[in-house]
Amino acid sequence: MNLISIIFGVLFYLSACSAFEVSQTWEISNYQRTLDVLKSYVKDRTTIVARNIGSEPSAEIYAVVPGDRKDLALQVSILESPQLTAPVLTSELVATENGFNYYRIDLPFPMAPKSEIRLMLSYIVINQISTLVEEDKMGAPQYLQIHTYKEPLSVYETKKYQLAIVGAKEFNELSTKKEGSPEPVPSRERDTYLFGPYEGEYKANHFDEFHFSYRHDFPLPYVYNLERNFWVSHWSDSLQLEEYYELSNKAVKLDSGFSRVDFMNSKLGHSYSSVMNSIMVPLPENVETEGVYYTDKVGNVTTSAFVHGDLLLKPRFPIFGGWHYNFTLGWEHKLSEFAHAVDGALGEYLLKVKLLDGLVDAVYENVTLSVYLPEGAKFINATAPFEWEDMVIDHEYSYLDVSSGHTKVTFYFSNLVDELRGLDIIVHYKYSVLAMLKKPFVTAFYIFLALMGLYFLRKIDVNIKPKGYAPNPASK
C-alpha cells in the first residue's frame, strides 16, 4: 500500500528560501497558524487542511518547522480529521536546511486522491523571543521581539492562510514592508491580532520574513539547569523530592547598577513588571505534601509562604533581567501514593514520578531527573512520554548504605517548558523483601563487631609495670 512512496529528488538550492523539495502530491487548501506569546516562549499551532492532488493514495506528508533544532522544545502532530482513537502521529526529522527542519509525518493509512485531511501541528520553540533593547531603565515597559515568518510555512502550495498572534500587547510590525503588494493589516481583538484570512496562490517553500515587537511586562524565567532527585524509601514509606534550580531571567537588563531607592520609590516590588519578585510553585494536587523546604547556597531562605495550597517563594533579591539565582526546593510525599506493587510479580514495583514541578512559566534548558531507588533494588525498565536524551544507571552511596549504595536511575532531558508538568515517568523496579531486610541486619552486625572489638581491646594489658609490682612509697 505504500507504493506511492515516491523517491523524491532532494534538491539543494543555495538560495535561502527553498532547500527541500518534495513531490507536490498535496495542496494546502487552508492554513491557519496561531502564535501564542503569552508565556516566555512561543507556542506555535498550525492547523492545515490538506488535499491529495496526486493520482495515487498517499500516506505521508511533510511539514516544516523553523528554528534551530536545538531550540525546539516540543513537536506534536495530531490528525484531527478523519477521527481516530489515537490521533497523535509519529513524525520523523528528515532534513535540516538553512534553519528549517523538515519532518515527515506518517499517516495511519493512505489517503485517496482528492480526499482531504485536517492536521494540527504544534510546536514550541525556545530562545525565539528576545528583548527589543538590550538594556533599559528600571521600571520601563518591556518590549520583546520575535523573528518568524508570515506567509504559510509549507513545502506545498497553499490557497488560503490566516495568522493569529495571541497575547501580543501593543503589537508593532517591524519587518520592512514589501513594495507594491498590498500590505495586510491585522484586525485586532483585545490582545489578539489576526492577519487574514487571505486567499491566493502561495508558493511552496516560500518564506516571508516577519519581525514584530510587543509589550510583555512579565519576567522571562529561564532555567539553565534543573536537577530533580527523587529518593525512594520503602522503610519510611516516603518519596522525597529535591530540586536544584539554576534560574535566570532573560528579560531586559538594567542599564545601570541596581538602585534600591528607585526600586522602592517605583514600587516595582508590588507591581507586574519584568522583575521576578516571587516565584510561584504549585504543589502537586490531591496528594499529601510534607516538609517543604526552600534553601540556597547560603542557607535557609525564610521568605516562603503557602498561598491557597501553592508555594510562594520570595528570592533573596528581586531578579532583574540577566541576573541569576540558584536555589533548592524540596518536599516529601507518601510513597504509597506513587508506587504500587505489580500484580503477580513479587517485589516488583511501578513508580510514577512527575517530569516537572515548579515554576508556572519557565523554559528549562537541561533537566536531569534522578530516581534513587533503595539499596539492593534492581531497575527493570522505564517509560517516558517522549524520548530522553540519555539514561544512566549507577550507584550512589548515602547514609547507612552497606553494600553497593542506592541504585540511581538518571534521565537527561533538554529543552522542556513548564507546560509539560503534567507528564509522568514510570520506573519499573524490583525490590525484594530480602534486600529490604539486608540493611538492618548488616548494620546490626557492624555494631556488634564494633562492640566485640571494644571488648577484645579491653582484654589487652597495656601496663608497663612488671606483674606483682607494688609502687614503693619510699621512692621520694
Partner: protein, 553 residues
C-alpha cells in the same frame, strides 16, 4: 577541662599513661583554639608553685616531663604553631619550668650523694652559673631575633590601655575590650559569689589539686577582667569552685542524721534545726533552678543569635527576620564575575569569602597590618585619592554596611574611626583622625559634619542617594540620631563608584568601581559635567511645564 582533669589525675598518680593522655588532649586544644597558650602557661605555673611549696616529687616530674615532651612535639605538628614553642615568649614559661625540673632533680640527687658543706658550696656556684647562662642566653637570643619579641597581645594583657595607644587594630575588636561588671554577673549569675567561697575552701585544703584550682582561679580572673573574650577561661574554674562550695553546703545542710538522733532525745529544738536547714536548702534549690533558667535564657538570647541574620520583633510580637547580609552576599555570588575582587572592612572578610565566594582584600585572618590600613585609607580619604588606591589594588566591588535606615548600630560608620586610626598609624600624613571630628569635637554625620568626614569615601558610600528615599522630608540617620537636611542629603554625590546593589533594608550596599573614562577625563569631572547638564535639563523642564499650567486656567 579534660586536659586539666587528666593533668591533675596524672600528678596524683604519677602515671605516664595519664600524662600522655593529657598531652593528647593538649594537642587537641592546640589544634582547635588559639588560646591554648593559656594551658601552656597554666600547667608550668602550677608545677612551679608546687616546687616553691616544696612539694617536688617524682610523680610531678614524671607527669610534667612526659606532658611537656609529648605535648610540645605534637603541637609543633600544627603549621600555625611550628617552632613557636621554643621561640616565642608565650611558651618560655613551660620551657623554663621544664629546665628547672631537671635542675631540681639534679640538685636532689646531689643532695643525697654529697655532704652538706660540699653541697652548699656547689649549690652557690651552680646557681650563679645557671642564672648567668640563662639570662645572657635569653638576652642574646632576643637580640639575635631567634626569639620573637614580646607580642602586642602580651602587652595588652598587662596594660589594658596599651593596645588603644599603640595598636589600634587590636583594640578595634570588641572582644578585646575590658570586661564590665555587669557582664560578669550576666554570664555567671549567682556563681559569681559562690566562686570566692570555693576558692577559700581550696585554700583550706591546699592539696596539689587545690593549688591548681587556686592558680587557675587567680590567673583566669585576671584575664577575664582584661579582655571580655577571656571570660571563656574563667567560667570552668568558676563552675568547679562554686560546685565545691555548693557541695560543701549541701553536705552540711542535707545531713539529717544528727537531727533524727537528737529528735529522739528532745523534740522542740530538733524541729527548728530541721526548719532552718530546710529553708537554706530550699533557697539554694531555688537559686539553682533559677540559674538553669537564666543560663538557658542567656544562651538563647545573647549567645546563639548569629550576627549574619538579625531577628527583631514586630509590634504585634511576631518575629521578623532581617536577612540583608545573606541577600547581598548571595547577590554577589550569583551576579558578579567569579574572579571579581571585593573590598570591604575586614570584619566581613570571612563572610564574603564563605557566603559570596569572592576574593577579598582583607579578612579576619589578615596579619598584615598594612593591608588593613590600606583598605582603611581607601575608605577614609577623598574620592580622587581613593580611586588611585583602588585602581592599584585592582578593586572591582566595594561593600559597605550601613545601618542608618534601620537603626543597626554595628555598621561601618560606627567602626569608621577605627579604620581612620589604623590608616593613620601607617600614613599619618594622609589621614588624620582630627579631621573627622567637628570643631567642637563631635562625631557628626549630618550637614555640620567635619570636612574630612564629608569628603571620605565611606561617608559618601553610606549616604549616597539616602536623601531620595525620603521624598522632600529630611532624612534621619537612626543609628546616630542625626537629621540631615533634605537638600544636603541629595547633594551627596559619588562619581568613581556606581551603585550596583543595596539590600532590602539598606544594611549592605555594594558599589562597583567604574571603568576609566574613554577620553581620559577623570571620573569626577565627567560626573560634574553630567550634573551640570542634568540640572539644565531639569530647569528647562521646569520652564516648559509652566505654560501647561497656564493653559489649564
Amino acid at each position: 577541662m579534660l586536659t586539666f582533669y587528666l593533668w591533675i589525675k596524672s600528678i596524683n598518680m604519677g602515671s605516664v599513661f595519664y600524662a600522655a593522655l593529657t598531652a593528647v588532649f593538649y594537642f587537641y586544644m592546640v589544634s582547635a583554639w588559639g588560646g591554648y597558650v593559656f594551658i601552656t602557661n597554666m600547667i608550668p605555673l602550677h608545677v612551679f608553685i608546687l616546687l616553691l611549696m616544696g612539694r617536688f616529687d617524682f610523680k610531678i616530674y614524671t607527669s610534667y616531663t612526659t606532658w611537656y615532651a609529648l605535648g610540645t612535639l605534637m603541637s609543633m605538628q600544627i603549621p600555625f604553631v611550628g617552632f613557636l614553642p621554643i621561640r616565642s615568649n608565650d611558651h618560655m614559661a613551660s620551657l623554663g619550668v621544664f629546665g628547672l625540673l631537671q635542675l631540681v632533680l639534679l640538685v636532689n640527687y646531689l643532695k643525697y650523694t654529697l655532704s652538706a658543706a660540699k653541697f652548699n658550696k656547689l649549690m652557690i656556684a651552680f646557681g650563679v652559673f645557671i642564672s648567668v647562662v640563662a639570662i645572657t642566653g635569653l638576652v642574646l637570643a632576643t637580640k639575635l631575633g631567634l626569639i620573637a619579641p614580646w607580642t602586642g597581645r602580651f602587652y595588652s594583657l598587662w596594660d589594658t590601655s596599651y593596645a588603644k595607644i599603640h595598636i589600634p587594630i587590636i583594640a578595634s575588636v570588641s572582644e578585646h575590650q575590658p570586661t564590665t561588671w555587669t557582664s560578669f554577673f550576666f554570664d555567671l549569675n549567682f556563681l559569681i559569689w559562690l566562686f570566692p567561697v570555693g576558692v577559700y575552701l581550696c585554700f583550706q585544703e591546699l592539696t596539689n589539686e587545690a593549688v591548681f584550682l587556686i592558680v587557675f582561679a587567680v590567673l583566669s580572673s585576671y584575664f577575664a577582667g582584661v579582655m571580655i573574650r577571656l571570660m571563656l577561661t574563667l567560667t570552668p574554674v568558676v563552675c568547679v569552685c562554686s560546685g565545691l562550695a555548693l557541695g560543701r553546703l549541701f553536705d552540711i545542710y542535707l545531713d539529717f542524721k544528727d537531727v533524727l538522733r537528737s529528735r529522739a532525745e528532745h523534740g522542740s529544738k530538733g524541729l527548728t534545726e530541721v526548719f532552718s536547714k530546710l529553708i537554706i536548702v530550699s533557697t539554694f534549690v531555688f537559686y539553682l533552678y533559677f540559674f538553669v533558667q537564666h543560663c538557658t535564657w542567656a544562651t538563647s538570647t545573647a549567645y546563639s543569635s548569629p550576627s549574619v541574620v538579625l531577628a527583631s520583633r514586630a509590634q504585634d510580637g511576631s518575629q521578623s527576620i532581617i536577612d540583608d547580609y545573606r541577600e547581598a552576599y548571595y547577590w554577589l555570588r550569583m551576579n558578579t564575575p567569579e574572579d571579581s575582587k571585593v573590598m570591604a572592612w575586614w570584619d566581613y572578610g570571612y563572610q564574603i569569602g564563605g557566603m559570596a565566594d569572592r576574593t577579598t582584600f582583607v579578612d579576619n585572618n589578615t596579619w598584615n597590618n598594612t593591608h588593613i590600613a590600606t583598605v582603611g585609607k581607601a575608605m577614609s580619604v577623598s574620592e580622587e585619592k581613593s580611586e588611585v588606591i583602588m585602581r592599584q589594588l585592582g578593586v572591582d566591588y566595594v561593600l559597605v554596611i550601613f545601618g542608618g535606615l534601620l537603626g543597626y548600630s554595628g555598621d561601618d560608620l560606627n567602626k569608621f574611626l577605627w579604620m581612620v586610626r589604623i590608616a593613620e598609624g601607617i600614613w599619618p600624613e594622609d589621614v588624620n583622625e582630627k579631621t573627622f571630628f567637628t570643631q567642637r569635637g563631635e562625631y557628626r554625620v549630618d550637614d555640620l559634619a567635619a570636612e574630612g568626614m564629608k569628603d571620605s569615601l565611606m561617608y559618601k558610600m553610606s549616604y549616597y542617594r539616602f536623601g531620595d528615599l525620603f521624598g522632600n522630608k529630611d532624612p534621619v540617620d537612626r543609628v546616630r540620631q542625626q537629621k540631615l537636611s533634605s537638600n544636603y542629603a541629595k547633594s551627596i554625590k559619588l562619581d568613581v563608584l556606581e551603585e550596583v546593589f543595596t539590600s532590602e533594608n539598606w544594611i549592605v550596599r555594594i558599589y562597583k568601581l567604574k571603568d576609566k573614562d574613554n577620553f581620559g577625563r577623570s571620573l569626577i569631572d565627567v560626573g560634574d559635567d553630567e550634573r551640570k547638564h542634568a540640572s539644565k535639563r531639569v530647569k528647562r523642564m521646569q520652564t516648559r511645564k509652566k505654560p501647561e499650567l497656564d493653559l489649564r486656567v
